[in-house]
């Protein structure tokens, strides 16, 4: 049986969700036998494999043009999309900048920041979107993993269910935000 | 105020509104064209209104009309009583008007002396 192809993406978020993913202890061993981890911040692969993947976990909110492009690509190339953690599900902390002027934010952080020599980073950093959005406001999403970060147990439960071809039964405390 | 007093007020006040009811039995139409007015139609009308008021007639309306082409007979006055032919009077004066009120409007007998036409 061929391995299930899994990608993970890291948008605007703190990487805590990925940390939690790596925190699922011995389930990692089972996963290693059953999945092929494709493009992910924790691998060296940066593009989706030819033919796409079975599952993509997206950590973080959609906040800039690159992420907007990637989330659409992820949708196209994944059979199942999972909003992974509160930022992806609700906008969470990155969403707090909504309602602020993005130009002024850039100016304050980069223009006045001591480490950037007053240089605005638009040649290298993607432009910010006017509004930070949870993933499902941009593309349809199949499953939502709540939590900041989602508890390792919930992550394991969801992934193992999917590997068994079942719908993850997330309920009760599994759906706790924060 | 008692209910009877309310009803008395209504009796009195409804006379005030009689013009708006459109159910007058008698209609007096006064020719008030330029020649009518020149011949004294205003005084005739005033006399009608006064006499009607003095005699407390409530089912009479006084209205006016324009030139009738009978300049020599002006002021001309028509009296229309429901169910009766129209009676036209000519060369009216205030005194004649008062007579018409008494004899025609109250007693129902046209004042033949001034009648110029009966129609209908």
């Amino acid at each position: 049986m061929s391995k299930v192809k899994v990608s993970t993406l890291w948008f605007s978020g703190c990487a805590g969700c990925h940390m939690s993913l790596l925190d699922i202890d011995e389930v990692l061993i089972e996963l290693a036998g059953r999945i092929e981890l494709c493009n992910s911040p924790i691998t060296d692969l940066k593009v989706f494999p030819e033919g796409g993947v079975d599952v993509t976990l997206i950590e973080g909110a959609v906040a800039n043009e690159e992420q907007l492009h990637l989330v659409k690509e992820a949708r196209e190339k994944s059979k199942i999309l999972i909003a992974f953690g509160d930022c992806a599900v609700t906008g969470n902390v990155p969403g707090l900048r909504n309602g602020m002027n993005t130009d002024k934010l850039i100016e304050d952080i980069y223009g006045k920041g001591v480490t950037t020599n007053g240089k605005l980073p638009y040649d290298v950093v993607p432009h910010l979107l006017d509004r930070v959005r949870p993933v499902h406001e941009v593309v349809p999403v199949e499953y939502f993993l709540h939590g900041c970060p989602p508890p390792p147990g919930v992550i394991a439960k969801a992934i193992l269910a999917l590997l068994d071809g079942k719908t993850p039964e997330l309920q009760g405390e599994d759906l706790k935000f924060g | 105020m008692k209910l009877e007093e309310l009803r008395q007020i209504r009796e009195r006040a409804s006379k005030e509104l009689s013009l708006r009811k459109g159910n007058a039995r008698i209609k007096v139409v006064i020719g008030m064209g330029t020649s009518g007015i020149a011949a004294g139609a205003r005084d005739v009308m005033a006399a009608f209104l006064d006499e009607i008021s003095v005699r407390n007639l409530t089912d009479v309306v006084v209205t006016q009309t324009g030139e009738r082409g009978l300049a020599s007979s002006e002021p001309v006055v028509d009296v229309l009583i429901t169910g009766e032919p129209k009676v036209s009077y000519g060369q009216m004066t205030a005194d004649k008007a008062r007579r018409v009120v008494v004899e025609h409007l109250v007693n129902g007998n046209a004042v033949t002396d001034f009648v110029i036409e009966v129609r209908g």
Binding site: - | L6, R7, I9, R10, L19, G22, M45
Partner: protein, 602 residues
């Protein structure tokens, strides 16, 4: 000396706005100058109905009806009509379709089809003169009720008449009275809901302005029937004239012994207080209105308990709409059978409607229930102006539903309108023609209800907001297919779960337009086409090169220099990117060379 002419000057708020007061003072001067003061009486009345044509005058005897009278017309009216008896024909009402001039008020189609019961005195008597009201039989019903009838008999009469609440919900009035009458407890309260908040509705205002005593009499009869000694009339502060006339009427009634401790010397005591609301739409909802009377924030409360059990300050409260109150004295005078024979068996009596929108004769009309929408819009309303096509009619104010042409022959009654997804409401009728975009209309009404939501319950506060955002998204040309389902499911949720009538009915304009004009939503979303060419994001102005004569008019009026060209060298060019779609160019073009188009180019 006897009077020979009564000159009635409409002093309803609409005619006051079109300067009826100046006409009246000009008339007074001219009548005085000609020495006619003794023969002619000037009377200020309440609304006569055709507000569009104000200021209007009604002259008795004869019933001559003058429209759009200006102070400049006064000399001619007095000279020609009052003196010489020749009506001024140019001021008479000409019906456009028949090119017919109506010599008398009763010949005017607008009045012909109406049956005035509640509004019978409006426009016919001086509302500030209690004797004129008494002359029309006023307070006779109260007198008979107090002296000849028991409270039980009165309630039975009301129940048998079949009168239903005219505020919108159509609850049987007699039953309400019975509920309150059966409550034990010493203190009971009677309330008149005159907090008319629908944009374009002015039934209650006109009644209070034109015949305030009829409301007072109705309330007093009810107070006797249910055992109340105190009443409130709740009117919004935006109705200063209604408030003034109502207060005058209450004062006059008190002085005449028709309100107070010993009414008509029967020992029955009842008095009224006027409560002035700050104009929140939700205060028309009875529980919010009661909270407001108590001095609390005007927020609705859950029912039960109904006001009949626990209303103003916890007392059993009988609350009816102003128009309902206006019906009472007629029912008591003429009997239940008389009333039940008017209208339809399910919805007896008449209903007053405020007719507005794309209709020739806008104004106030009273028709028997069961009259069809077509009769009201086309026979009384005179149809759609400027040869445009009828598109929809909205009944019931901002939370009513939009009804398409195929249902024009629907009789107006509570059940028939409800079946179509509309409501009777307090009686607003807004007519729309081909130039109205139904998505935009839905957005307009939702904008109103969303803004007027009190914020207490979540579905209404947040649900209407989300619906409004979706409608804005669609009219901005950013709609998605899924938005239609989103709108529908949100609408059904808001309607099913909101606390009060405001939220429960707020989705009506959206749900009804989705049902009957779904194709317009589809066109907005999929083709970016606004059929009525209303939504600015989807229209574009284009110069037809064949028709352009290079007259330069359009270029000079364009505020953003989107149009370029040389005079005499057609065609001119219009830059769609720069254009702000203000439409000035199309207005000034003498050759109709500028077309408004909508929809994706392909």
């Amino acid at each position: 000396m006897n009077r020979r002419l009564d000159v009635l000057v409409c002093s309803g708020a609409a005619c006051v706005s079109s300067h009826s007061a100046e006409v009246k003072s000009a008339l007074a001067c001219e009548i005085d100058a000609r020495g006619l003061s003794d023969e002619i009486r000037l009377v200020e009345t309440g609304c006569m109905g055709p507000c569009e044509l104000g200021p209007v005058l009604l002259i008795y005897p004869g019933g001559t009806f003058y429209v759009r009278v200006s102070p400049n017309d006064v000399a001619e009216i007095v000279e020609e009509h009052f003196l010489k008896g020749r009506p001024v024909r140019r001021l008479l009402w000409e019906t456009p379709e028949a090119r017919r001039i109506a010599e008398e008020k009763k010949q005017v189609p607008f009045f012909e089809k109406q049956q005035k019961i509640v509004l019978a005195n409006c426009g016919e008597i001086d509302p500030e003169n209690i004797e004129e009201f008494i002359a029309t039989g006023g307070y006779e019903a109260l007198g008979r009720a107090l002296t000849e009838k028991s409270p039980e008999e009165l309630i039975e009469t009301l129940v048998a008449s079949g009168l239903r609440g005219r505020g919108g919900a159509g609850f049987p009035t007699g039953l309400k009275w019975r509920f309150v009458a059966r409550e034990s407890g010493k203190t009971k309260v009677v309330v008149c809901n005159a907090d008319e908040g629908d944009p374009g509705a002015f039934m209650d205002r006109s009644l209070l302005e034109g015949d305030p005593h009829s409301v007072i009499e109705g309330m007093t009869i009810a107070a006797y029937a249910v055992g109340a000694n105190h009443g409130y009339v709740y009117v919004r502060a935006e109705y200063p004239l209604a408030i003034r006339r109502l207060k005058t009427a209450i004062e006059q009634a008190r002085n005449a012994g028709l309100l107070g401790l010993n009414i008509l010397e029967t020992g029955f005591a009842f008095d009224l207080e006027v409560r002035i609301g700050a104009g929140a739409f939700v205060c028309g909802e009875e529980t919010a209105l009661i909270a407001s009377i108590e001095g609390e924030r005007g927020m609705p409360r859950t029912r039960p308990p109904y006001p009949s059990t626990s209303g103003v300050f916890g007392h059993p409260t009988l609350i009816n709409n102003a128009e309902t109150w206006g019906n009472i004295r007629h029912i008591v005078l003429h009997g239940a059978q008389w009333f039940a024979a008017i209208g339809t068996p399910q919805s007896p009596g008449t209903k007053v409607f405020a007719l507005s929108g794309k209709v020739v004769n806008t104004g106030l009309v009273e028709v028997p229930m069961g009259t069809t929408l077509r009769e009201v819009i086309f026979d009384i309303g005179g149809g759609i102006p400027n040869g445009k096509a009828f598109k929809a009619v909205q009944t019931g104010g901002p939370s009513g539903g939009c009804i398409p042409a195929e249902y024009l022959d629907t009789p107006i009654d509570y059940e028939s309108l409800k079946k179509l997804g509309a409501i009777m409401g307090s009686g607003g009728i807004i007519v729309m023609d081909e130039d109205n975009c139904m998505v935009n209309i839905a957005k307009y009404f939702l904008d109103f209800t969303c803004d007027e939501s009190c914020g207490k319950c979540v579905p209404c506060r947040a649900g209407t907001r989300q619906m409004l955002d979706l409608l804005e998204k669609i009219t901005d040309g950013k709609g998605e297919t899924a938005d239609i389902d989103r709108l529908r499911s949100l609408g059904m949720m808001v309607a099913s779960t909101s606390l009060c009538g405001l939220g429960q009915s707020a989705p009506n304009p959206v749900l009804s337009t989705l049902k009957y004009f779904g194709h317009e939503y589809q066109a907005h979303i999929h083709e970016h086409r606004c059929e009525a060419k209303v939504c600015p994001s989807m229209i574009r102005f284009e110069i037809n090169p064949a028709a352009c004569r290079a007259c330069d008019k359009c270029r000079t009026v364009c505020p953003v220099t989107a149009i370029t060209g040389k005079p005499g060298t057609p065609p001119y060019q219009l830059d769609a990117q720069t254009c702000i779609r203000c439409g000035r160019c199309a207005e000034v073009c003498p050759f109709d060379a500028i077309a408004i188009n909508s929809g994706d180019l392909n």
